[in-house]
């Protein structure tokens, strides 16, 4: 690319000229903000970013970000993004989706993108509700939730995003909270750096249809005590006073207080995001309040071969070996005969 590119981007470069149409107070605004920050931090020319989304409040995202964008159809963003990335591995491809979009109608493309390990970044806005269609339950809604389509409460278990990602052979999973912009920004940068499918679950607040759903963990006053921000290579400490930690007890994780029972920092689990065996990541991503703090940060980040690179390498490899270099070669290959 010879043309001038904006490599020293600022956030402003990523603001589109479209009016942002989310409800005032919606968690999505903060996510947009964090993503714009992250994009500006990375040394990728703006024209190489592609944002693909499905349908939902969250999926309007591409309109608000001044990159290439494709607002697709409900649930299919992962498939579209797979096409974009495999067609041109040079692009930085982002898949914006909601809990309904990714996990209800789009569940299949979601797990297959992860299995193939296509090098895309999936940001899943989990508000545990269908926002755009005005408040029906989603596959992440807590059992018993009363919504327009479950007037007497749901009778089904929700998915845990992390479980499903790991069950589908996922190699990168992170979790953040909409309003934690700094943490989120860092995570988006890490997600982009990771080669392979990166899934970031954002606990997002829908002020209209599921107000306060994440308050137990996301509330500013309780957050420090009800969450733990995992950092690779660091001991698992949390709490307002940094006084709590996690240890391994047989096959289970246990919350401990530093100082009690002679427990010191050294006894705590040290976070290893790169461990290929998913057992511990499974347990970490599964921690639920009130028994545990909810894990934030990059929970799992394991290297692996990516699909798009695999496809590209195979083509390069065959092209080296094959005697067929152009269409005329192919047309004349194999059994042919001449009529004069």
């Amino acid at each position: 690319m010879e043309e001038k590119t904006y490599n020293n981007h600022t956030m402003k470069d990523f603001k589109s000229n479209q009016e942002v149409r989310w409800c005032p107070g919606c968690g999505n605004h903060a996510v947009l903000n964090a993503v714009q920050k992250a994009l500006a931090q990375m040394n990728i020319p703006r024209e190489n970013y592609v944002f693909v989304s499905g349908i939902g409040c969250s999926s309007r995202f591409p309109y608000y970000i001044n990159t290439y964008g494709f607002h697709g159809i409900h649930g299919r963003a992962a498939a579209i993004a797979t096409g974009v990335k495999t067609a041109n591995p040079k692009l930085s491809v982002w898949n914006i989706t909601g809990d309904g979009d990714a996990l209800a109608i789009g569940g299949n493309h979601f797990i297959h993108a992860i299995r193939r390990n296509v090098d895309i970044n999936i940001i899943l806005f989990n508000n545990e509700i269908y926002g755009l269609t005005k408040g029906q339950y989603s596959p992440t809604s807590v059992r018993g939730l009363v919504t327009k389509t479950s007037p007497f409460g749901t009778v089904e278990e929700p998915f845990s995003v992390g479980d499903l990602v790991i069950g589908a052979k996922g190699k990168f999973f992170a979790r953040t909270i909409d309003t934690m912009v700094t943490l989120s920004t860092d995570i988006y940068v890490e997600a982009e750096r990771h080669r392979g499918t990166s899934v970031v679950e954002v606990l997002q607040n829908c002020v209209i249809f599921n107000e306060g759903v994440h308050d137990d963990v996301a509330g500013r006053d309780v957050r420090a005590d009800h969450t733990i921000v995992l950092k690779h290579g660091k001991p698992m400490i949390f709490g307002k006073e940094n006084d709590k930690g996690l240890i391994l007890d047989g096959l289970k994780i246990r919350v401990v207080r530093l100082g009690e029972d002679n427990i010191t920092e050294k006894d705590l689990l040290v976070h290893d995001a790169t461990e290929p065996n998913p057992g511990i990541h499974y347990m970490l991503s599964n921690m639920k309040y009130p028994d545990y703090p909810v894990a934030l940060g990059v929970i799992r980040s394991v290297e692996g071969r990516t699909y798009d690179a695999g496809v590209e390498e195979q083509i390069a490899d065959i092209q080296k070996k094959s005697r067929i270099k152009c269409m005329d070669d192919l047309l004349m290959s194999g059994s042919t005969w001449k009529i004069k």
Binding site: S16, L91, H112
Partner: protein, 614 residues
Amino acid sequence: MTRNSKVIKREDVVIRFSGDSGDGMQLTGTLFSDTVALSGNDMATFPDYPAEIRAPQGTVGGVSGFQVHLGHSEIQTPGDYADVLVAMNPAAIKANVCWVKPGGTIIYDKDNFTEKNITKAGYLKDPVAEEKLETYNIIPAPISSMVREALKNFGLDAKSVLRTKNMFALGMVYWLFDRKLKYTERYFDQKFSDRPEISEANKVALRKGFYYAETIQALNPVIRIEPAAIEPGTYRNICGNTATAWGFLAAAEKAGLKLFIGSYPITPATGILEELALRKDLGVISIQAEDEISGICSALGASFAGRLAVTSTSGPGMALKSEAIGLAVMAELPVVIVDVQRGGPSTGLPTKTEQADLMQALYGRHGESPLVVIAAGSPGDCFHFAFEAARIALEHMTPVILLSDSLLANGSEPWKIPSMSELPEIKPPYADKKKIPFLPYERDDKTSVRYWAIPGTPLLEHRIGGLEKTIKGTVSYIPENHEDMVKKRDAKIAEVANSIPGIEVIGKYTGDLLITGWGSSGPYLRAAANELQAEGYEVSFAQFNYINPLPKNVSKVFSRFKKIAVGELNLGQFADFLKIKHPGFSYNSINKVKGMPFTIKEIKESCIKILEGK
């Protein structure tokens, strides 16, 4: 190998190989047609096999067939009735005897006419008597025992030995039609270069069959079909699926774009994906998607990313792609969707042919979502129309549906190899990199086509999607904007009519009856028209390959005939479409929905009825 029996010449001949699904009839037919083609005959083939991988051995349901029609002059169809039937077991007789010409030759493996197999085929005792086979030239050959004998010293297990039965039969047929064995021998040399004993065993069986036929003087005189008077050039045998795949490859080269295919396997379309997956040497990016929706969605992603994107499927997969095709209409992205039709509805008759997806192709989407529909007419034709589909998609920024079918997909014919230099360049309407800001729905005034700005290009960043938009790409619910955009999308498709050829009348310019049809029924209708013309009827034929938009000369042509017949393998879908687009005429439908192509005979009968006003 020299020949030493009498030889007569014939214009054309039809041979049908049939046997159990495990008997290798598809391979036998293919090898035979390769030999026929390489010796310069014109030819058409019709493979016909059950939906099961190995349907129950010995039953009629398990019979697999392959028909070859070869000739000295132009061959249009695989032929109605066979001159020679090869039947590897009683069930093959049961399934096919009604398709043998009176007095035709029937070769069968008499070793396989055991009591068990006879019962399995549904005969009481003796197929020969029950079917009155005496009226045919029957050749009961002890094929199984002969190959067992011939290969006894090869050290092969019994199963492998019996697997060469088909080559013995093929050898016999080569003798009957005075053919050389070398092309088939060469195939085995290449195929089994790492297992020479298998190669040799097959070659021995082939030769033994040839000699056996000679020994018993299986046919007297032997039939020779002189090479056809074919347009000079280099030829190859090609089946529809390969031709389709190659048409896209050619278009990609002519457009200077990488080819991308995102598909999910489905009979009879899988061959296109398989062929393109092989073409990594030409840089094809192929994704076997998790389903058909992902197939087209990944193609749309690739199209957005600036590739020539295609997706291939059959009826059930088309249904699944409907929603995403609607997105392609709205996003105005180039993409080709190939529908290799098969018997429907639902899972229907998955390995049989039918032309009943036309209405779905035209109308199977919500909202006003017009697109281009074109249909190939013969296996070799698929190359040209795949190229055309890609050209139109790219140059008009629209999804194009290319209709093929089971008959074309697996059928093959000799095909004159084009040189790439003969094909037109394809020029997509790339956005002007200097014209900033880029307006995603700004259009070419004449063609209503929008411009293509590709990710990676600085300063052309933009957003598209399924919501209605203004020219700037801003989401808009403004009533007038919507109506305007609906009409522009419609006009864009209608405009394609200006870049396609008119229909051509085969036969007289005017007359009592114009026989028309589309896609793979064309050659059958045309052959029937030819015969009727020869019999003195005032009929002509016109083939439709461009369905939407229709060519511009349709009503002019139609108005020159007293009557119009529309022949198709469905209940009359194209006739219905003509009623919409050219309501001024009345249409006589010739329909068949049997999972099989027309026979020339039944078309002629229908046409005569129409001519006689019945």
